[in-house]
Structures are given as structure tokens and as C-alpha cells.
Amino acid sequence: MARNKSFSVTTLPGFTAIALTTFVLLYAPIVTMVIYSFNDSESVALWGGFSIRWYVEAWDNTQVQQATVRSLVIAVSAAFISTTVATMAALGTTRRGRFKGQTLIYVMINQPLMVPEIVTAVALLIFFASIKVATGYTGLAYLILAHSAFCVPFAYLPIRARLEGMDLALETAAADLYARPWQTFRHVTLPLMMPGIAAGAMLAFVISLDDVIITEFVKSAGQDTLPTYMLGQLRRAVTPEVNAISTALLALTVLLLTAFFILNRKRD
């Protein structure tokens, strides 16, 4: 038994303890938050019995309603735009061997992952401020553009992974079978990269939905999204309403993820 035993981290002393602590730290706060979203009391910390009153209050709160709609509009638009851009970028960077400047292109595409978000936020603030002054337009387009930009790498990575795993011989086979280049793309390349595109779009959607820093800097007056609204609430008396909204967001994310996994399983 002792022979041929390969190294395994699971046998290191303290492994189980560290793993358990990590999981507790990850999940205990979330569980607490979910439980306290059903708290009947005004306080976020004191339990006053079970109730769904904070969900009702959040639901009836016009500010919350508007912020939710705004968040969804921005997230859907940003996911759509960034996924389209990322798809083109992935097609442009993977359908051939290594090329000059490949690393530079990768770094440029993934810039938002490397530059501190606060830097991007300040840069966008200044950039858009001058445009706002020049054009007088203060609508949602700024937020949609900003979100689209920083969502690109999140959409790009899964699409690129999918394309890199794709057998180029399939496209050759399509061309051999009388498919013109656009037909090959439409009937072979696109369907095969679809799982990657779906994963990319989902990631982009969730990342956009969740963004605080850039949104806070770029938004015009009265353009709160759900996260910035909640942040605003913190500055006043915090009520379990924040818990309720967070729990709803969590539920939405879990729902999306589940739908995605089920769809993916069916495909393969």
C-alpha cells in the first residue's frame, strides 16, 4: 500500500481544517444574508421573526423598481455588445497559427482584467464628462458603453477557449462539401462556438449586473443601478431590504447558471 503512493495535498496535516474554514467563510455569510432577508425587524442584525415584508417593500419601492429596470437594460445591452465584439476578437485571434503581436493583442483585449477598476472608472469619468458637456446628452448610453467595454474580456475568454478546442479540419471538410465561406461560418463554425458564446454572454451579463465602481463614476444624476442604489442605502439606515434585494440577485444568478448548465448538458 505504501509503495507507489503519489503526493496528494489531501493528506497534508490541516488540509481538512483549511478546506472547511474556507467553505464556512464562503457560504456562512451568504446563508446568513438569505436568512436575515426574511427578518421581520427593522434591524439587519436582530432577529424579529419570519416575514417577507422586506421583499414586499423592495418590490413596491419605485426607486428599486427603476434601478432594477436600469440594471437589466444595461446588463442585457452590455452582454449583447461585448459578446459580439468578443466573438469577432476570438475569431480574429484563433483561426490561424501564432502570429506577430499575438501576446500584445491578448493583453490589449484583456486590459480591463489587469488595469485597476478604479483607474478605468476615473478615466471614463473624465472622458465622458467632456462629451456630456459637449453634446448635452446624459442618457444611459454612457453606462452601456462603459459596461460593454469592461465586459469584453469576460466574454472573450470562454469563446476563445471553445474556438481553440475546435478541429480546423471541420471547416476544411465543410469547404470540401461545397460550403462557401459564409455557409461554413453559419453552419459549422457558429454552431460549434455557440456554447462558448452563451457562456461568455452569461459571464458578461453577471459582471455588468454586479458592477459598482465604474457605474458610480460614470452615471449621471438619478441613474442608480441596483448595486449603486444599495450602496447609497448603506449611507443611511440599513434595513433588511438590502438583504432582500441581494437575495433576489443571488437567486437570479443561480437560476441563470442552472439554465446554462442544463442547456450545455443537452447539447453534448
Binding site: A173, A174, A175, L177, A179, H187, L192
Partner: protein, 353 residues
């Protein structure tokens, strides 16, 4: 007169540039006839796939021409060529059903759906996969995938079908079955097959004609019997089956071996008197007993239906004789025994080097 289906005229293909330039095809000229089962045979890296890719249109020749019938197609896109390929890796579309894979070519050509369906049904029957039409390729065995790839390439009724080592991924038994199946399909459809393999036995059993390739050039083109019995040089002789190679000096009436014996040689016309030549003779064309040559039995090796007898002549040249094993399994030859032998008339040939 037979009609040409495909022709290569001094087709050259170079990959890369500068120092890294590789010449994969070296001015290959070749005519493949309509309705023929033509095999390209050669060792790994000799340019077989490259030649197929030129015919299919995935690459264009660096110089020279590829013709289809009488048309120069050197620069035509693959999707415009009435040529289909069975890929070594099959390259079946994993997101499409077996039926949709087979119908792909016709669908891309804009054939009406009813017609596509009818043709797909016909092809499924031809390759005996009717029960699998709704499966995905990855739910099939290797042999079944192979047949789907074949049906997919045959469905649009190409003028020429290219097959790049289509059987190399299959086990021996399945391989034999598919060899017969391919032959059947070829005679049933009458389509010109260009088949690539590096297995000489496969080439000999399946082909109407064989082109033997080495280092980007075609060394010899001929029917299986011609290639086997009359190899032009030592490489072809060695590559296609086992062969005995002897050396000797040309004289009037034959070639004098180092042992002093003079033997008759078939194709001696070109060789100058007194010149040194290499000779080839197949093991099954060596007859032991009652011959003009003599040797000592060095070893006998039993192979089931055949027995190989290694003979050593007085100058230590070894000649292998292949004979059918007698029912008892014992040839009566034993090590050290002196025997006389000779070669079947017309069997000994001069090899170019």
C-alpha cells in the same frame, strides 16, 4: 482510349519560405483515369496528403497545374470543385446527426430538401447505417464513423473521391471488411477513387493502379502485378513486399554473379556490358531443387501456410525462398544441407538505384 479524371502536370508544392522552405511535392506529373481505383503509396512524409490537398483545392500548387478532366483547376476554390474527401480523422460535424452530416454537401449546393432526404436514405442504405440516421457521430463506433464519412463524401456524387488513409484507425479485421466494402462501393458508383495508404498489402489488393511515392516524387506507376513483379528500383522493390537483392556484372547473355554463375535477366537492354547492376527477385520466385545454382540451407522459418528458406551461396549472399508449407509442416530441408536452386524464368530484374 481511357479518359483522364485528374491530372497533375509538374505539380510542385513548397511550404514555408527562406531557410524553412520544405518541398513537399517535387514536380509530380500523373494521370488518373476515369472510374479508376488509384492508390498513392509511400512512407510517412512523402507527400501523399499534400497531393490530395492539391487535388481537393485546400492548397494551390507553387508551380505546375492540376487538371480535372480537361479543365485547369489549380486556383479553383475547394467548394467549386466536384471533388470530395474522406479525411483520415473523418472530420464529421459533431453538432449534426448522421443524416445531416451525409446531406451536408447537397444542402450546401441548394438541393431541395426532399431530394436531399431521398439521397441521404439511399446513402444510408449503401453503407448499411439506416438504423443510425438520428445519432450523433460521437455515438458511433470507429468503423461506423468511417462509413458515415464515406457516405457524406459520396452523397453529392463527386467526379473524384479522395481518401486519405481512411482505414488506418481501424483494427485489422474491420480494416479487411472495409477494404472489400470500399471496392464494392467503387464498382457500384463508378466514381474515380484516389486512395492514400502506406500499407503495401492494402494497395496491392485494392488498386487498379498504384503510384509509389518517395520524398515528394512519384517513382513508379503501374498495376499491382507490375509494381510487385517489375519494381523499377530498389526502394520500390523493398517497399512492396520482401525481395532478394543480388549484385552482378553484365555480360552477353546475362549477369555474372560473384559466385561465377551467369543468370538470365529480363530487362537487360539498357545496361552496358561490364557494368555493375543490382538485381531483384521475389522469394516466391526462387525454386529449390534441380537448378543451376547451389547454396547451403542457413535457416528455415515456418509462417503457417508458408515456409521461408534462407539460402547462403558460396560468396555469402543470402537468398530467401518462399514455398508453401507441406501438410506435414516439414519441408524436408535442414540447416547445413546443400541444395540446388534457380529462379522462375523472367523473374530476375535489373533495378535502377
Amino acid at each position: 482510349m481511357t479518359e483522364a479524371a485528374v491530372e497533375a502536370r509538374s505539380a510542385r508544392k513548397e511550404y514555408g519560405a527562406g531557410d524553412k522552405k520544405v518541398r513537399a511535392l517535387n514536380d509530380v506529373s500523373l494521370v488518373i483515369n476515369k472510374g479508376e481505383f488509384f492508390t498513392l503509396l509511400g512512407p510517412s512524409g512523402c507527400g501523399k496528403t499534400t497531393l490530395l490537398r492539391l487535388i481537393a483545392g485546400f492548397e494551390s500548387p507553387t508551380s505546375g497545374m492540376i487538371l480535372l478532366g480537361a479543365r485547369d483547376i489549380s486556383t479553383m476554390a475547394p467548394y467549386d470543385r466536384p471533388v470530395n474527401t474522406v479525411f483520415q480523422s473523418y472530420a464529421l460535424f459533431p453538432h449534426l446527426s448522421v443524416a445531416d452530416n451525409i446531406g451536408f454537401g447537397l444542402a450546401m449546393q441548394g438541393t431541395p430538401k426532399a431530394q436531399v432526404d431521398a439521397r441521404v436514405a439511399e446513402m444510408l442504405a449503401l453503407v448499411k447505417l439506416e438504423a443510425f440516421s438520428e445519432r450523433r457521430p460521437q455515438q458511433l463506433s470507429g468503423g461506423q464513423q468511417q462509413r458515415v464519412a464515406l457516405a457524406r463524401a459520396l452523397a453529392p456524387e463527386p467526379e473524384v473521391l479522395l481518401l486519405d488513409e481512411p482505414l488506418s484507425a481501424l483494427d485489422l479485421k474491420l480494416r479487411k471488411e472495409m477494404q472489400l466494402e470500399l471496392k464494392r462501393l467503387q464498382s457500384e458508383t463508378g466514381i474515380t477513387f484516389v486512395f492514400v495508404t502506406h500499407d503495401q498489402e492494402e494497395a496491392l489488393t485494392m488498386s487498379d493502379r498504384i503510384g509509389v511515392m518517395r520524398d515528394g516524387s512519384i517513382l513508379q506507376i503501374g498495376g499491382p502485378r507490375e509494381i510487385y513483379n517489375k519494381p523499377v528500383n530498389r526502394f520500390v522493390a523493398d517497399f512492396i513486399g520482401e525481395t532478394n537483392v543480388l549484385t552482378g556484372t553484365v555480360e552477353t547473355g546475362g549477369v555474372r554473379l560473384p559466385t561465377g554463375d551467369v543468370i538470365a535477366v529480363d530487362n537487360l537492354d539498357a545496361a552496358a556490358q561490364g557494368s555493375k547492376v543490382s538485381l531483384a527477385v521475389r522469394p516466391e520466385q526462387v525454386r529449390i531443387g534441380d537448378g543451376a545454382l547451389s547454396a547451403r540451407v542457413a535457416e528455415t522459418v515456418y509462417f503457417g501456410t508458408d515456409t521461408h528458406c534462407h539460402l547462403r551461396m558460396s560468396d555469402d549472399t543470402e537468398v530467401v525462398a518462399r514455398m508453401q508449407s507441406p501438410p506435414s509442416g516439414d519441408t524436408g530441408l535442414h540447416e547445413g544441407q546443400q541444395v540446388s536452386f534457380d529462379f522462375v524464368p523472367g523473374a530476375v530484374r535489373v533495378l535502377e538505384d
